[in-house]
Amino acid sequence: MREVGTVQTDTRDQTPEPLTGPGAAQGAPAPGEGPSGGRGGRTATTKRAGTAGRHLHAGRLTYAVLSLFTLGSLFPLVWTAIAASRDNQRLAETPPPFWFGSNLIPNMTTAWNDANMGKALLNTFVVAGTVAVSTVVFATLAGYAFAKLRFRARNALLLTVIGTMMVPPQLSVVPLYMAVAKLEWANQLQAVILPLMVSAFGVFFMRQYLVNALPTELIEAARVDGAHSLRVVWHIVFPVARPAMAVLGMLTFVMAWNEFFWPVIALTQDNPTVQVALTGLGRGYIPDESVIMAGAFLGTLPLLIAFALFGKQIVGGIMQGAVKG
């Protein structure tokens, strides 16, 4: 966590235009002297790579197929909203409703109040945000080390990291809870946050990305000039890794947002995340499905809004990140 603090402080010291990747590689000023250059090369690189070579125009068939998949992708979500706008009784009837009813707001209000949604959303934002940031930062550091630095037992350690991805998650819950209980963390957010702070996948992901994306000469140049390794990380690795960091951050955020099994055990309705709060919904001998659906919709809505607002950036991050520099 100390590292995290460092990151925050350093952010302020950061000069506006960090070095970025191969475009800046040739003749770039050594990072040790302050990353003031690289602007020109950067834009040029993007331009050329962003448009060149996507040679073929899409035909009608392409649009038809894509539209079909769009419908398929959106249907369950849209139907969730439709179900949330009906009442419980209508949902049992056949055929199921295909258009919106008038109960969306009342159902969402019920869900909001019954499930302690305000607090849940805040908590989930804290959990998912913290987890995403820490996963990204730690994964980038470790991924960089595995990709570009030489040290003893590197291969063995990397294989260990990959191996940990293969552990089935359901079982860790029991020992984890015993540990959390010993620390008296039950029902506190850190019980959910800390076990998720790092991810093997993230490390592997960043390593694989940096192996290709980070030119070894760039680091060499910096090292030759005697730059300390933290400087290298800050001025070279982070800027180069940024698109991958954005993608990893988004994936981790969504994953942490939808995390269910462990939070249900570690937290209670007193201090819930969204998924925990939703388990308390529509309860009863007559589970009210329309309210449950309204809750599910409410729980997904923030992610949707984020997609709508940042979708361009996120997806753009993936795409432009893929560009050959």
Partner: protein, 331 residues
Amino acid sequence: MTLSRTEPATGSGKPPVRPAASGGGSRAEERRSRRYRRDARWSPYAFIAPFFLFFAAFGLFPLLYTGWASLHNVSLHDPTHMEWAGLHNFSRLWEDEFFWNALRNTATIGVLSTVPQLAMALGLAHLLNYRLRGSMFFRVVMLTPYATSVAAATLVFALLFGRDYGMINWALGLAGFDHVDWENGTLTSQIAVSSIVIWRWTGYNTLIYLAAMQAVPDDLYESAALDGASRWQQFWHVTIPSLRPTILFTVVVSTIGATQLFGEPLLFGGSQTGGGSHQYQTLGLYLYEQGWFNFHLGRASAIAWTMFLILLVIGLANWLIARRLQRSSSQ
């Protein structure tokens, strides 16, 4: 990017930096070079330390505990009370038909979901790789299944695959076909579960492939076009080979995901049994049944470790094949 490149990249390549390269022999430089060497030597460990520290605290302990528990009779009622059982929990799996059934189901569902998922993703990525109006819209839409809660999605799919009133059977009926009892058939239920998985992950893989496709150098296409290759031939002879590392990688990650498949089959039938004849009970679900329904934590731990070992074997095999391919392609 892929496992196949792991080896050369982490292998005995040249050291990325040679301190001696800067030459010179002044004392200041020596001091600098000493400091430099210390930094070069220890900073990698500092960079990987956070991961391993957190992993030791929250990952390794459960893993070891699970390993230890797998050698005992442990009940969920009192996980601290363990009775030594040796390898019994493992050896009993050998004769456990439910385990083999789950293993089989996991494999078939894995194939049923992974293959079409990746194939469709590849095709879609190819389409999205064209010059396209509203390409950003399509890309964002592809991501929505990933964000939709599994519970909501599963309910929708249950409505789709219902025997008496499901929409798919309704459509089949319109077309003059008999109703299909999706949940009760072995293959049909596995198709239904696979379709949920496919729905959730196709868009995601699409974006992965798309990203990789955009990294294919243009000159490859240009020279192929000069040679008179059609669109299809370009896809087949330029795109696919360039994507091979990425494809291998997605196969590995999807395999891990498929082996641990749990949420979709659980929610599809609403029960840990995975259908009346366990026809879609996966290993993940069987583990859950033994641990959380039958309360046999020791057995569940043994299943978990067996899954772990299976994955390691698959991973190893994959790695060997990848290395082979790499070798043969570089020759």
